[in-house]
């Protein structure tokens, strides 16, 4: 008996690896280049993601034009089924690789690869998310697979790799070992310098919340030991969306019952657990089109064929079996969940978090949350490394969304990179001139910390670095009395709230690296009309009329 084309499996694997590498390649390519605006194709994967499109349309009532690319994915799914999951999705490939590795150590008896009713969970998760989006938020995109992987690679895997490379290269450089006449640094130095100048965004890049983000990732990868591709089968809302589109694809599996002896090999090989029994009951919504079944079948009883039209009844397909009750519960869950997310003082807009400094061009908070997927592209591209995932600052709904943490990095005066990479325009793309009109916060001296105020010595490093040509920080000459009664004239720095744009470089450069003498808070940020505490100054008025 001839085995059918086992190399088909290898074609799929090569394609999968290629898409995964392309994904990582695009992440690495997302770095600031002086004088250049980041290209749109850096966000190619997000543009091809129909879940992001649907969520943005529902939540923000906006259609990001470029995101219409994802209609290609929709079309692909209508014709071929969930090939996106089986061949393209980089997170899917991570799971497939994990499963492949686990196969080497786990007994086959451990595997259960027939359909489990719990696989319906992802459709209900999607349902809840859609309802949530309909009323204005799309928290679930935290679970979008592309977003999830992008964020994990950017904020934990890459920084860890960079730490290893930097530490290793420096250790070799300092020790300068030789093997005979060969200097190890003659290899390590050029390699390290190449990475430093062309791959890393900045030296020692690191992110807050790395542990949390990584823990979540490890958990979903580890779940493969329980069920292969657990995430894709049970949780993934994008998989669910594609599953709905793949109810009656043109490419269908057909089992010739005369040849099939129900050996079950195809079931064990199935990535998606799409059959309800041994060799029977194919559910296209659950099928990743990995083609393992047809490749594995020793009797050639199983094969994929094209149907000319979607409404053809043959070969028969099985529905997933969603219930109306389940859908209603999911909808209610989404509604109630959203009410809880927004029923917080910050969610109601009655208070503002002083440290939730959003990147320049960010929309007002509710709109921002309706769009931001927390993918981390902006954090990856930020040349100072100041954009960090929010952990508590933006509430549960804003978990891992970007905010500027000036003590880690500031907003560079001439940079507009984040707005140009943002796939959903949660951060609007700005020109440099537009950006200079925008205040993202306001600097305030902490006169219990600032060196001149507290210790009577000159400092004003902050003033030196303030990028505003007329300087938002100015100095007032003041006489201070020293311990021995002597007088000293020093420069006391002050902030002009008219000029300050909240870039935070002052906080970044302050010599006090633990609790800086100057801090940026969100007061007066342009994006919130109601968050304006300071009246504009009137020209030429020294005395305020009371």
């Amino acid at each position: 008996m001839k085995r059918r084309l086992p190399f088909r499996r290898w074609i799929r694997r090569v394609v999968q690896i290629a898409f995964l590498l392309a994904f990582v390649g695009l992440i690495l390519a997302t770095r600031p280049v002086p004088g250049e605006t980041p290209s749109w194709w850096l966000k190619a994967y997000f543009l091809a993601d129909p879940l992001i499109l649907v969520m943005t349309v529902l939540a923000a009532h906006a259609v990001p034009l470029l995101a219409l690319f994802s209609l290609v994915t929709v079309l692909l799914t209508l014709i071929l089924g969930r090939v996106f999951c089986g061949w393209i999705c980089p997170l899917g490939t991570v799971h497939a690789l994990t499963g492949w590795a686990l196969d080497k150590v786990q007994k086959p008896a451990k595997r259960r690869d027939t359909f489990s009713p719990w696989q319906k969970a992802k459709y209900y998760i999607l349902g809840g998310a859609l309802v949530m989006a309909l009323v204005g938020g799309h928290w679930i995109t935290i679970f979008d697979p592309l977003v999830l992987l992008y964020r994990t690679v950017t904020t934990s895997l890459l920084p860890a790799a960079q730490w290893g490379i930097e530490t290793g290269a420096n250790a070799v450089y300092q020790a300068d070992p030789r093997i005979g006449g060969f200097k190890l640094t003659s290899v390590t130095e050029p390699a390290y310098q190449y990475l430093r100048n062309h791959v890393f965004v900045l030296p020692k890049q690191a992110f807050l919340g790395t542990g949390l983000i990584l823990a979540f990732f490890i958990a979903i990868v580890a779940a493969n030991a329980y069920r292969r591709r657990f995430w894709c089968r049970y949780v993934c809302p994008l998989g669910a969306l594609l599953g709905l589109l793949a109810k009656r694809p043109l490419l269908r599996r057909k089992v010739t019952s005369e040849s099939c002896n129900e050996c079950g090999l195809c079931t064990t090989a199935c990535h998606g657990a799409s059959a309800s029994g041994l060799g029977t009951g194919w559910k296209p919504s659950e099928c990743f089109v990995c083609l393992n079944c047809s490749t594995t079948c020793p009797r050639d009883a199983c094969e994929f064929t094209f149907q000319p039209v979607i409404w053809r009844k043959e070969p028969a397909v099985q529905p997933v079996g969603l219930t109306r009750r389940g859908v209603l519960w999911a909808a209610a869950g989404g509604l109630v969940g959203f009410a809880f997310l927004r029923a917080t003082p910050q969610g109601r807009g009655s208070v503002y978090h002083p440290r939730l400094i959003r990147p320049p061009g960010s929309r007002p908070e509710p709109d921002f949350l309706a769009r931001c997927t927390a993918c981390g592209m902006c954090m990856k591209v930020c040349p100072t490394g100041g954009l960090q995932p929010a952990i508590t600052e933006a509430g549960l709904e804003g978990l891992f969304t970007p905010h500027l943490v000036p003590i880690i990095g500031y907003c560079d005066y001439t940079c507009t990179a984040c707005g140009h990479v943002c796939p959903t325009e949660a951060i609007r793309p700005l020109t440099e001139e537009e950006k200079h009109q925008i205040k993202i916060g306001l600097a305030a001296f902490d006169v219990t910390r600032c060196i001149p105020y507290v210790y009577g010595r000159n400092c004003v490093v902050c003033e030196e670095h303030c990028p505003i040509p007329e300087k938002a920080i100015y100095c007032v000459e003041t006489e201070v009395e020293l311990r021995d009664g002597k007088k000293r004239r020093i420069k006391l720095p002050k902030v002009d709230p008219e000029k300050c744009i909240g870039c935070g470089v002052c906080e970044y450069v302050c010599p006090l690296d633990d609790a800086p003498g100057i801090r940026v808070i969100t007061t007066n940020e342009t994006r919130h009309d109601r968050h304006q505490a300071l009246l504009p100054e009137v020209e030429g008025e020294e005395e305020l009329p009371y």
Partner: protein, 311 residues
């Protein structure tokens, strides 16, 4: 491993040892017969285009070095040279926040002509290094002239014993002090605290943790200058920034002077620079301090600087 120290270690140790010796008398070791200071000035029609400006800056530099006795007075065949411009900020040349790129490029060329093995150009910018190197125009110009443009690596600064009056130890960039010659080529500009930033202050670009210097700039600058043992310094006054320094950003704050001073007495050069900025040398703490501790003379006229006018 190896009992003998590597070249790098050796140089480092010797740099520390000699730098540590508090012997101000040694600092101006140029023979008395040699010219100590030159001022070159353009008096012709003011440049109408960037190309004309570049030409003038190039000539001013060439003439200044020639009048000092040529680059071979400072750079020997096979030397490793580090040129230390001011590349502090992400600002274009017209804004006068960084050294003029053509002055730097000319120096690179002169060093290579004098037989330097390699000429490195680098600074420790305040703004993002990639941006400051690019927008200052220095990276491009220096590379074209044949230099190796070096980005300082934060991990590679080494705590060195500089035994200053106020600064005892500080992280210094080893590759710079290990070079055979360091050419100091800053731009003259206003500074909010130090009043002016000139040659002595330019050495702040070879160290880390410099933010604390602001608490006593004159003494800290004297300390680091003594450690660096200046040889050839050039003060770029082709454009000078008169206010809102050191970062600036307003073209109105910049005055075109088309002047350049070069020499071996760093305090004298700074004194001259102060006058270019419309200040008295005695107004500037680091100049007074440098004079007091013997790093040079603030009465630059006593050196009878050669004045060369070009047109």
């Amino acid at each position: 491993m190896h009992a003998k120290s590597t070249r790098r270690e050796f140089l480092w140790q010797s740099a520390v040892a000699t730098g540590g010796l508090l012997l101000p008398a040694q600092l101006s070791w140029a023979a008395p017969s040699e010219t100590k200071m030159v001022i070159t000035k353009w008096t012709g029609p003011s440049p109408q285009s960037p190309t004309e400006f570049a030409k003038i800056a190039t000539q001013l530099t060439e003439q200044a070095v020639a009048a000092l006795g040529g680059m071979s007075r400072f750079v020997k065949r096979g030397d490793v040279v580090w040129i230390k411009p001011n590349i502090g900020w992400d600002r274009t040349p017209e804004l006068g926040a960084n050294t003029n790129p053509d002055v730097v490029a000319t120096l690179v060329r002169l060093c290579l002509d004098a037989g330097a093995k390699v000429v490195k150009v680098g600074d420790n910018p305040c703004d993002l290094p990639q941006k400051a190197y690019a927008s200052s125009g220095i990276a491009d110009a220096a590379r074209k002239a044949g230099a190796q443009v070096v980005f300082l690596d934060r991990d590679r600064f080494r705590e060195m014993d500089i035994k200053g009056e106020r600064v005892k130890t500080i992280p210094v960039y080893p590759e710079i002090v290990e070079s055979d010659v360091v050419i100091n080529v800053p731009i003259a500009k206003h500074h909010v605290l130090a009043t002016a930033t000139l040659c002595m202050k330019n050495y702040m670009g070879v160290i880390e943790n410099r933010r604390v210097f602001h608490q006593d700039i004159p003494t800290c600058l004297a300390d680091i200058t003594r450690f660096m043992r200046p040889s050839l310094c050039l003060l770029d006054c082709t454009r000078v920034m008169l206010a809102h320094g050191p970062k600036g950003g307003n073209i109105e704050d910049v005055a075109v002077r088309l002047t350049l001073a070069a020499g071996t007495d760093i305090v004298a050069l700074d004194a001259f620079g102060a006058e270019m900025l419309g200040r008295k040398p005695s107004d500037i703490g680091s100049i007074v301090k440098g004079h007091q501790v013997g790093l040079g003379t603030m009465d630059y006229r006593s050196l009878q600087p050669k004045e060369i006018t070009l047109s």
